[in-house]
């Protein structure tokens, strides 16, 4: 009884045999809709901040330097690769690539910052109308965004909560009236 199960256990390995993949030297193909590192196509991105609102790990931070410039910082070190930003992006600017070999010795390598030129229209969030009309997602109307990028902190609500003296510092920024000024 004991011996028969021992022999079965040894023979259990004969059929599959040694199955070790020779990984670092030949790589196994990645399935096609795999959720690896997100890729920002900054031509398509309109800076609507939809991804920032819907990132569970709150890794995408948005800051408006002035009406024309919006800086978006993606803090890759905390990203959990859930693919939510790729779903929610109205312009499909974010796609989940199949890159998973992201090992690095310096955390800053995973960061990505994008500086967008915003048309001088009133960014009251109307430009963010999602195709899939899920009410919950559209309820996040964001006004003039001011996340605290230094502390990687994501400020939850709109204009009424960001700190006034930062607003004052950018107040005296002179809008460009005409070329060559």
């Amino acid at each position: 009884m004991w011996l028969t199960s021992k022999i079965k256990q040894v023979l259990m390995v004969i059929k599959p045999g040694v199955v070790t993949l020779n990984y670092p030297f030949e790589k196994r193909p990645v399935p096609e809709n795999f959720r690896g590192a997100p890729y920002w196509d900054h031509e398509k991105c309109i800076g609507c901040g939809g991804c920032a609102n819907h990132c569970p790990a709150r890794t995408i931070l948005v800051r408006d330097i002035c009406q024309e410039i919006r800086v978006m910082v993606y803090d890759g070190s905390r990203c959990t690769y859930c693919g939510r930003c790729a779903d929610v992006c109205p312009e499909n600017a974010i796609t989940m690539t199949d890159r998973y070999e992201l090992a690095t010795d310096d955390r800053q390598d995973l960061n990505e910052s994008m500086e967008l030129f915003m048309l001088t229209c009133q960014r009251c969030g109307r430009c963010y109308d999602m195709e899939n009309v899920n009410m919950i997602d559209r309820m996040d109307l964001q006004g003039y965004r001011y996340d605290n990028i230094e502390a990687r902190a994501f400020i939850r609500k709109t204009t009424d909560r960001f700190d006034p003296e930062m607003l004052k510092k950018t107040a005296e920024y002179k809008r460009p009236s005409k070329i060559g000024e």
Binding site: S5, K8, N53, G83, I136, M139, D140
Partner: protein, 556 residues
């Protein structure tokens, strides 16, 4: 008059005065508002009527009506309905009678809210700190609404665990935070006399990450499933499904049939890979590495399969409020069936080679014995209970998702020991594979995500129960404004099973400690709490393994 009204009637005519109102939004839910003083007698009455204690939820309502609510929930398995006893105490002095003396299962919900909400429970046998760290200031209660979610008080220096008195004649073995047998940081102080275990004390909550507070203040409805999935690395989509079902029940959101079938498919795939994982870890814990390697080799097929379906090996990220994110196309269906057939035949080989192995029987039969009555007293759930002859399974008792339309039988064994849990889990693997085949055959057409036309109404209560691979997982949600849940409570299956560990460990060899703790397949990151059994509660400084190393390095 089904039993729900019967329970309501018996409670009303016995405690008419102290019941201030009742509601039944669904045929399977009954909310009863009671006065806080009478909570003990009423809950004893409900348990006498056949209720099983599920979970206790404390929520901070000070902003609205100035008091803190405490909800005790009881499940009636035979006739599939859940009773809530809503009690409320004024926020200024939140004192309430405790129900733990008669219902041991409630001990921790109450201790948890002593730490998190500052409530006091008179008559609680062991009102010690449970959730927050030892060096957490005593007057800050994190779950109160006015406390910000990211407030980190300064760390006091090396504060030791407050553990219990060691029974006389025993030495303490600190199974420290970084022990290879338990893959998670928690500290068992095992009281051993020679090789036999006399008692066990536990200091947990090292993986408490304040998820409930985070999801009440920082993220909106549709992000919480992605955080819920990361509560536990093995049964991720169980938590996401349970949360979504709770919100859908509270907000009255209809879920398309196809989405329910896809959710059940994901839950069954997760059960497959979780049971195979446990089989491997159990083999590893008793030193039988061949079973560990072979069962994890078989499990790898399922991980690759779920990677092809959902895009990630383990955190599937498919379930959101109102449905599912990705569809199951027909060719994915064949892929699933092919992989299931291969896995089933490989598991058969492993099963045949294990059942006859007397060496394995020596290490698992009669180990971690807990009789059926004690298992009922500790209200065990999942395979641990089914191995002790208790016939409970949430998929059959409280059907959710697509389980009401599927046929499956629940394997129950009555050997009451670790071998029983192994046999139950192996049989459940075959059950899951047959369930997956049924789901793929019967999956209806239709879209997979509902369009939410209007906002989710605030202040609605919702509870949902899901059969996780380890047992019954309970999620409770109170909906709130600003597109965010007002309160979200998670009770994982390891919560009651961990309570029975000290009872299972008594008079066993210390060599069996890993396999007994492993037999309930503990997921400490889900729960992180076990009741303390020992007699007196005294101050005793016990060092963890790392601390002993620190001191033993000569710098006393």
């Amino acid at each position: 008059m089904n039993s729900l009204e019967k329970v309501l009637k018996t409670l009303q005519d016995k405690f008419g005065a102290s019941i201030t109102g009742h509601a039944s939004p669904l045929p399977t839910r009954l909310f009863i508002n009671i006065k806080a003083e009478k909570v003990r007698e009423i809950s004893n009455e409900v348990v006498a009527l056949g209720g099983r204690y599920l979970v206790g939820i404390g929520h901070d309502n000070i902003a609205r009506d100035g008091n803190i609510g405490m909800i005790h929930t009881f499940g009636f398995d035979k006739d599939n309905f859940i009773v809530h006893l809503n009690a409320a105490v004024p926020g200024s002095n939140p004192v309430m009678p405790s129900i733990t003396p008669d219902i041991p299962g409630a001990g921790w919900s109450e201790r948890e809210y002593q730490d998190l909400l500052g409530m006091k429970f008179e008559g609680h046998p062991k009102p010690k700190r449970l959730v927050v760290a030892d060096d957490w200031p005593a007057d800050i209660f994190p779950m109160r609404k006015e406390v910000p979610y990211n407030m980190v008080p300064p760390a006091a220096e090396d504060v030791a665990y407050q553990l219990d008195e060691c029974p006389e004649g025993c030495s303490i073995i600190p199974v420290g935070p970084f022990h290879t047998a338990l893959h998670e940081p928690e500290h068992f102080a095992v009281y051993v006399d020679g090789e036999t275990i006399k008692g066990c004390d536990y200091r947990g909550f090292m993986t408490h990450r304040g998820i409930e507070k985070l999801c009440e203040s920082q993220v909106s409805y549709n992000e919480v499933p992605f955080i819920a999935e990361r509560i536990c690395g093995i049964c991720g989509s169980v938590h996401a499904t349970a949360y979504s079902q709770a919100v859908e029940m509270a907000g009255g959101i209809p879920v398309p049939k196809r989405a329910e079938y896809i959710r059940s498919l994901l839950l069954e795939i997760e059960r497959l890979h979780s049971h195979l994982l446990w089989l491997g870890v159990a083999g590893h814990l008793i030193g039988f590495d061949t079973v560990f390697m072979q069962s994890w080799r078989v499990r790898e097929q399922i991980m690759w399969l779920s990677e092809r379906i959902t895009g990630n090996r383990k955190t599937y990220g498919m379930v959101i409020v109102g449905g599912v994110r990705r569809d199951i196309t027909p060719e994915i269906g064949e892929d699933i069936l092919k992989v299931c057939a291969k896995v089933e035949e490989e598991v058969k080989i492993i099963h045949k080679s294990i059942t006859g192995d007397t060496a394995l029987h020596k290490r698992t039969k009669g180990v971690g014995y807990l009789s059926k009555e004690e298992a009922v007293k500790w209200s065990l759930v999942g395979p641990v209970a089914r191995a002790r002859g208790i016939d409970i399974d949430v998929r059959r008792d409280h059907p959710y998702a697509a389980y009401s339309e599927l046929q499956f039988n629940v394997p129950v064994v009555d050997t009451c020991d670790v071998w029983g849990t192994l046999v139950v889990r192996l049989l459940e693997i075959y059950e899951s594979i047959s369930l997956i085949r049924q789901i793929i055959a019967k999956m209806p057409k239709g879209e997979i995500l509902t369009e939410l036309s209007e906002e989710i109404p605030p202040l609605k209560h919702g509870i949902s129960v899901v059969e996780a691979p380890r047992g019954e997982s309970v999620h409770f949600v109170i909906t709130g404004e600003e597109n965010r849940p007002d309160r979200w409570r998670v009770r994982a299956p390891t919560y009651p099973n961990l309570q029975a560990i000290p009872a299972m460990l008594l008079n066993d060899q210390f060599a069996d400690f890993p396999i007994i703790v492993g037999s309930i397949d503990p997921c400490f990151s889900c729960t992180d709490r076990v009741e303390v059994v020992n007699i007196t509660s005294g101050r005793k400084r016990v060092m963890s393994k790392s601390e002993i190393e620190f001191i033993s390095r000569g710098n006393m």
